[in-house]
């Protein structure tokens, strides 16, 4: 379906191009990509860069060439000073372990005035400082965006309407953005038909650039839903909570279900639950060095699932074509529920993703449009947490440390 939309859009854009060939520079094709190889010292689980990926480096692969690799292509069309359009497709490892491209952007942009524009269609999901270009390795300092903040959110794009307003106030360049719409993302594994949906998304951001400093605040709220054949199915945890009786094998009869609790089922099953993303980001880049700091928070209805605070700080120094950098990242999930219901506790225990990490790496801009990066991460999962890992195997221990080594080649064209 997405493929068909993409083809239609491409054909549509090409069609309009033929009718207005005299316009110079009306169409622009460009792209970006990363070819990376990742190794993890934790062999009883897989490290994943994106929450929707089913597997990665560690247990499934010793050397993973897919998890941090991606390829993107974009067509920009400028019809006149008022109307322009952009279509972007990305290929990366998805929920079904294939690299089938998906449409990351497809919107029409209308410049109402030089400082006010409207976007209609599919836009990047912009919850965090670099969300809008997190797949573009060449544009970021690291081999992957810090997982504490960027891994857990599976939403890439919002379908809806956005308003962008740019105005200089003295020496400060202010940009305000408001977006309304909906979003969805498939989750792994494919067999569960799982998806995360965000409905009634409303978000606002303000960023201020002053000299070499940029400061950004962001707020988003939506109605979040998780649909999954396994979790919602007859053998899933919520079916157990919602059933007044249960089968007791030793006697071969139905007995009252001690875990029966409709209130808890409604509270913890995520169906149109209010979800809030907030973030504060700061970037200082005088040229010779740069500092990036971000702190984020996810909160909402009292279901204990998606609640956490996370952040990171990166410092980099430029020596000609060489840019060594170091990052510290942290993620705290809010204190686990004291609810005594074992079914609820079982659900919650699998959702603990708290971790911290230290990373060091270097970027080498060795050729025009090409950058080579090498990065080493030391990751510590919090007690009771599997952090950024998936495909957990028997014998895996939570609360332990592991190392990641990655080499990435970034390019733009």
């Amino acid at each position: 379906m997405q493929r068909r939309i993409m083809c239609l859009l491409a054909v549509g854009l090409a069609g309009t191009g033929l009718s207005a060939q005299s316009e110079t520079g009306m169409f622009k094709f460009s792209g970006f990509g990363t070819l990376a190889v990742t190794q993890s010292s934790e062999k009883k689980a897989d490290f994943i860069t994106n929450y929707s990926q089913p597997n990665g480096a560690g247990f499934s692969r010793n050397l993973d060439f897919g998890g941090d690799s991606s390829l993107g292509g974009q067509i920009d069309a400028t019809f006149n000073e008022t109307f322009s359009a952009v279509v972007q497709a990305i290929s990366e490892r998805r929920y079904d372990a294939t690299f089938t491209p998906y449409l990351n952007m497809a919107h029409l942009k209308i410049n109402l005035t030089p400082s006010l524009s409207v976007q209609v269609g599919r836009m990047p999901f912009s919850a965090f400082l670099i969300s809008q270009y997190q797949k573009v390795g060449y544009a970021t300092p690291w081999v992957r965006p810090p997982v504490e903040v960027y891994q857990f959110n599976p939403l890439n794009a919002v379908d809806g309407v956005g308003l962008t307003w740019r105005v200089p106030v003295g020496e400060v360049a202010l940009t305000g953005q408001a977006v309304g719409g909906s979003s969805s993302a498939r989750l792994a594994p494919k067999s569960e038909n799982a998806e995360f949906k965000g409905d009634d998304i409303v978000s606002a951001s303000v960023s201020a650039a002053y000299g070499n400093a940029t400061f950004r605040v962001f707020h988003l709220q939506m109605k979040g839903t998780i649909n999954s054949d396994r979790i919602d199915g007859p053998a899933g945890p919520f079916a157990i909570l919602r059933s007044p009786t249960m089968y007791y094998p030793p006697l071969g009869v139905m007995v009252p279900n001690p875990y029966y609790n409709l209130t808890l089922a409604d509270q913890f099953q995520i169906k149109k639950d209010k979800l809030i993303y907030q973030s504060v980001g700061f970037n200082y880049d005088p040229g010779g060095w740069f500092l990036m700091i971000e702190e984020t928070r996810e909160s909402g209805d009292e279901n204990m699932f998606l609640h956490f605070t996370a952040g990171y700080a990166t410092l980099g120094v430029r020596f000609g074509d060489w840019t060594p950098y170091a990052t510290a990242g942290w993620k705290h999930t809010t204190s686990p529920t004291t609810n005594a219901n074992p079914v609820v506790n079982a659900i919650i225990s699998t959702m603990n993703t708290a971790q911290s990490s230290y990373s060091a790496g270097v970027r080498w801009d060795f050729h025009k449009n090409l950058a080579l990066k090498v990065q080493h991460d030391i990751v510590k999962n919090a007690i009771g947490s599997s952090g950024a890992l998936t495909a957990i195997q028997l014998g895996f221990k939570t609360g332990e440390s592991y190392n990641l080594s990655t080499v990435a080649l970034n390019f733009v064209f």
Partner: protein
């Protein structure tokens, strides 16, 4: 290739102190002066208007132009790869497009003279009566 690079570097070294570089706008534009920050904000796509509120569109020279490298190094303290990464952020997030590229200073001067929305950087010697200097790069 290597010889070219050395020649280019030598050319830069020789040319830099000699070639005074300026930012120009049309004489039809009412603005008479710009600060370094205002020029930087326009060339970084952070602002799309002059302080008068009128539409502003910066012009770039080709990627291998010495004037271009000098302009970004001196005015924004950014090397070509840094600017490339910077525009990759904005272009691949659909936020903005990098400045229109014009191949020669003469062409920049001609476009700027014709349309008050443009600004460009050229060597001081290229300035004509149709444009005015609003900022001295070096």
């Amino acid at each position: 290739m290597k010889i070219n690079r050395i020649a280019l570097a030598a050319l830069c070294l020789m040319a830099l102190p000699l070639m005074a570089q300026v930012v120009i706008i049309s004489v039809k534009n009412p603005i008479s002066k710009m600060t370094k920050d205002q020029v930087a904000q326009l060339y970084l796509g952070q602002v799309h208007t002059f302080i008068s509120g009128a539409q502003a569109e910066p012009l770039d020279l080709g990627e291998d132009s010495v004037l271009r490298k000098t302009f970004y190094q001196v005015s924004l303290n950014k090397a070509p790869a840094q600017m490339k990464a910077y525009w990759a952020k904005l272009e691949f997030s659909g936020s903005a497009r990098s400045p229109r590229v014009v191949l020669t200073s003469a062409e920049v001067v001609k476009l700027v003279a014709e349309n008050p929305k443009y600004l460009g950087y050229v060597e001081a010697a290229a300035v004509t009566s149709g444009v005015k200097v609003v900022y001295a790069v070096n």
